[in-house]
Homo-oligomer: 167 residues x 4
């Protein structure tokens, strides 16, 4: 009931979840659809590990998307928290972590897209902040925006950890 | 032929185009799939125009995605340009506009996701920069990264203009 | 009394005001100390208006500093607001404007430092947001962080307007 | 001679060095001038280590300034590099590191100003990137913008390391 009201209040995050689902489907379909034009041998991406494999590249792209979604979810959650009843007691910490998490996710996207040699280190720190934000938002899952944000942060932390594991 | 080589060099932008296609399909399907839970009457989003309609909200989301894609395409293009043969003569201006465009797109995403009252003005400026970047990248469409970047910028400029038109 | 307690709580903003004072002194002293190595004729800055005069360049630098100070003051104010008694009623709007203002100031610095052709347009938008933030923070001048933030925003808006006037 | 020409071309970085010198003077004078209003006992900053001492806070502020200067120097250097003769062979790596370094410095400022609990970790990563950028820019000290950038990066890396050491 309360969740329904929230969904009405933040309808633009609902479609994001649709996209996530589509992306999941798409991600698993990826090898089949794009394998053809690529040789299975290592390829070169400027500024990145020159021996990057297709498997690594897929995770790279997954990680960009997870960070994009997480940044949006955190910014939306922080703003929504400011309209909640008990901002100080309940939401102040959530807003602080949303702020930090959105900033790091945004930067992680930029570092990956730019092919920076520091992309792995930025993603590692991003995972740490995402985990802290997941934990905090999970305390407020009665708020739809916090529930969705916790989900986005959890997925992003996982994607970042997997990305780092391929370094 | 040259394009094929480029595609191998930047395989992570190829799947992005797949997503764009999926999103397009998804975007047009959106009204049908998510109309049910929402009333067709105006809804309230904190910090945004309180009379925002479903139609406006869909454009809002389109605009977030277009800006996310454009920021990634610009960052990737700028880095790829640095590896091209004639950076100074051909690519310096492209790199400068990619840099400006990526920054504005990234900020536009943050302002929209945060429901800022200044989201429209940021998107208006974003459209201006995207248009300049489209023009510059369109001069180098023999480079796959510039061709894809020009496409992403054009789509983003359109999405931003449409977004602003709903203000 | 309450202000005194605040000063203790945020001592790192106090020295910033010292710097502002030093900078003011330095700014007016600038022509004398650095005039020697430069000819009074127009100089070329890459990416900027090629006929930029020394007078314009001094304002450029003033504007960078004003934006740097304002971004810090806004970030500090937003965080401090989250610890105040009545976040929802009093501070939510202040936090939202601090957030927007810090983002735009940070970007204005980057555009000016990069010599972007869009620096003027970013500064113009920055001035608009700074003015909105000045107005909001001025309602809470009993809080030392809001008082200092209002001051930093007012100075930044002025510096941006002057910068734009030289375009 | 060549340096002199460069100074004319980028006069707005010259005054920055003046400020750095003033700041150094000011920094050492800081304890004397601002000790009076503060008790020498630990003070509380929201979101930061609650037992932060005056000594730590002074370093905090030093670090904010060093990061601000470094971000500006890196953005200015990257843009100036794009106008150099041999962008590809000599300057491409410099531009990439300037870009990464500017981004991290900018974020470090935001995390410190916001009193984030992750400020130390961001500064640690910032120091790493600053050191890489110092090394690269030091190869091109015949270019005034690279020489100044190397200096700003070295100072910033030091400030970040000292900041982290107080954690």
């Amino acid at each position: 009931m309360s969740a329904k009201v929230k969904v009405e209040a933040y309808p633009y995050v609902e479609p994001l979840r649709e996209i996530l689902r589509l992306r999941h489907f798409f991600s698993s379909a990826t090898p089949k659809t794009i394998q053809a034009p690529y040789t299975p041998t290592p390829v070169t991406v400027p500024g990145l590990n020159p021996k990057m494999t297709m498997h690594q590249l897929t995770q790279y792209q997954d990680c960009i998307e997870a960070c994009q979604d997480c940044a949006v979810a955190c910014d939306a959650c922080a703003d929504a928290c400011l309209s909640e009843q008990d901002v100080k007691m309940m939401m102040a910490e959530c807003i602080r972590l949303d702020r930090d998490c959105a900033r790091l996710c945004q930067m992680a996207v930029a570092f990956m897209a730019s092919g920076s040699r520091f992309a792995y280190q930025v993603c590692e720190l991003c995972a740490t902040v995402c985990e802290a934000c997941t934990e905090e938002c999970s305390k407020h899952t009665h708020e739809e925006h916090c529930r969705q944000c916790a989900e986005a942060c959890r997925r992003c932390a996982e994607a970042c950890r997997q990305m780092v594991a391929t370094a």
